[in-house]
Homo-oligomer: 345 residues x 2
DNA sequence: TTGAAAGCGGTACCAT
DNA sequence: ATGGTACCGCTTTCAA
């Protein structure tokens, strides 16, 4: 930048003003500076700027692992896109259920001076203490692991109601929900639980009998590589038990749906002829056989909401900002839902 | 850090030496400084350090989009993990086939002063010029889009030979390869082409007749949301044409395999009873029905190789460093391969 | 062994 | 409207 100033024969101060468009600069000088910028190929140094301005234009994102759950691929893509459009860079930490990884990642965030941290899935909220101590704003998506944070709440109900209604319209009366137990229990209400609850409410709204519609819950924790998927085991259990007469299954995630489809496939049944399936997340649903209907998360709305929070937070510190935004789910219909079959056996 | 020095009643210089373990510091002072560090909760400021040292400990990663192809999820996870273990942070750009996104991302890298850029899939190599001008080392994975770069070459042959051999052992004689055309053609040899070539070589090594084993190539470019998958269309084409007698299909990616399985499913055929399938990448193969065999990329070896390059590069600038490392593929066997059926029809 | 001072590349205050 | 100067937090000569 000294080079630019010299080439334009002005002081560094003036050069800075011209470049940053701040304060008074004469038209002539502005032009000379701009030319000098071109000539020298000047690029502002973000490190120096950050140091002086105490801003880094960087955000941190914590998620478990896109590897085990493609849902995180979508959410991180959406958030990244929105952040990027707003001029922020993103540092990402996939903790993959390793405490060390999460702790190291948070240290990394602190070192880089991220202006906010976005929490899609914390392994252990206690790891976040250093962030809170350092006053880094935290924005949590779907989960509510930590008190002192902004939240984006995702309402599962609209999508769930559409899903149940679609099945009912096709003549289904016995519908199962195959979901996940909350992996950990440091929050009052987990997304897992809310999905289960939404299923119950949706049943009621659609006039189905709860006793005909079982809920099966299992561990969500990723299966070891090449073990049977959790959804496979749960579906096996369901289909070999007393509730085998269900004609439709709603899964708590697309990953679960994938496993359920494998179990159905293994039994030689067909979707949707023998049984209808609806997933949740709309992450890999389009890749399954048959292409599977799924309750979609509003990814880009989430990304926008996150960045909205970030901008509010960096703008005014302690102002009255809404602490929670709500977004909603919707059903994406594909080929995995059909008319209910006549009772089998 | 001034605080630390004051609390320990030494000069900032001495405090720095104690913290960074460099130069001479008396035992007593060292102890006092360490205590002061604890007491004040001091954390070094990376911005300042970067500015002074002209190092950022940050890398850039460019890929198209993990959203459209889960392969990138795995590769970025592996690279991120290795980088993190070596003390580097990562900035990621998903260009999603948008030139603007790629250009903006590269600008972001330059602003942040990344020490190297890892290239999994560049949209347009011309966008990389600014990096080259700024002497940022580029490490490319699998592809070779740019001359002045280090490369990690992935040899498809071992995995491909295992795949063909497995099919042959199960009695298959007519095997198709369903692959992708190279999306762009700015390199001498694309991974897509190398996979096709590897298939031909593998056939020969296993003594199969090339005329019985068709190769079908289509556009890899992601289908619009809820369009039929590319693999679906290609499989439709294959199975309704003169080559419908194939009993095994090797796909050029798991995404293609997913579409192929959908086409097979739609026809009411069963895998592996009627036809055997092997995917490539081992990205979502475990989620498909049935769990699908796949030629796996050596993800963690790739991550290690990338970081190895980075460390070499930052260590000595213009030293003689190997410019290419090679890694290799291997077959992961699951349930999508079985004995060849008797000729149909 | 320790400390003072300069400087990395910018920005902002205060004079002029 | 413009320039001088101090300073962001840390590292590194150089002298003591």
């Amino acid at each position: 930048m000294a080079d630019v100033a010299r080439a334009a024969r002005v002081s560094p101060t003036t050069a800075a003003r011209a470049i940053y468009n701040s304060g008074y600069v004469s038209e002539e000088n502005r032009k000379r500076v701009m030319e000098a910028v071109e000539a020298t190929g000047y690029r502002p140094n973000l490190q120096a700027r950050s140091l002086r301005l105490q801003r880094t234009y960087t955000l941190g994102l914590i998620l478990s692992s896109a590897k085990e759950n493609p849902f995180y691929t979508h959410i991180s893509h959406a958030i990244r896109t929105a952040a990027s459009a707003a001029g922020f860079s993103m540092l990402t930490v996939n903790h993959s259920y390793s405490a060390e990884a999460e702790i190291a990642g948070i240290k990394q965030f602190l070192d880089h001076g991220v202006e906010a941290v976005i929490l899609c899935h914390a392994l252990d909220p206690r790891h976040l203490k250093p962030l809170i101590r350092s006053q880094v704003p935290i924005i949590q998506v779907e989960r509510q692991d930590v008190e002192q944070a902004y939240s984006i709440a995702i309402d599962p109900l609209p999508g769930m109601v559409s899903a149940v209604r679609l099945l009912v319209e096709q003549g289904h009366q016995r519908i199962a929900f195959v979901g996940a137990k909350a992996p950990t229990a440091h929050e009052p209400s987990t997304p897992e639980q809310r999905r289960v609850d939404a299923f119950a409410i949706a049943l009621e709204q659609c006039g189905l009998s709860v006793s005909d519609c079982p809920t099966v819950l299992g561990d969500y924790f990723p299966a070891a590589q090449d073990d049977d998927l959790p959804g496979f085991k749960l579906a096996e259990q369901l289909l070999s038990g007393p509730d085998a007469r269900v004609t439709g299954i709603i899964a708590g995630s697309d990953i679960l749906a994938a496993g359920i489809l494998q179990a159905i496939y293994a039994r030689g049944l067909r979707v949707p002829d023998d049984i209808s399936i609806i997933g949740y997340d709309d992450s890999i649903a389009q890749f399954l056989s048959p292409p599977t209907s799924s309750i979609a998360q509003p990814y880009s709305a989430i990304g926008d909401a996150v960045v909205g929070f970030v901008e509010d937070v960096v703008a005014d510190d302690a102002r009255e900002i809404v602490r929670e935004k709500r977004v909603t789910t919707a059903l994406i219909a594909r080929q995995s839902v059909g008319a209910a079959p006549k009772p089998r056996a």
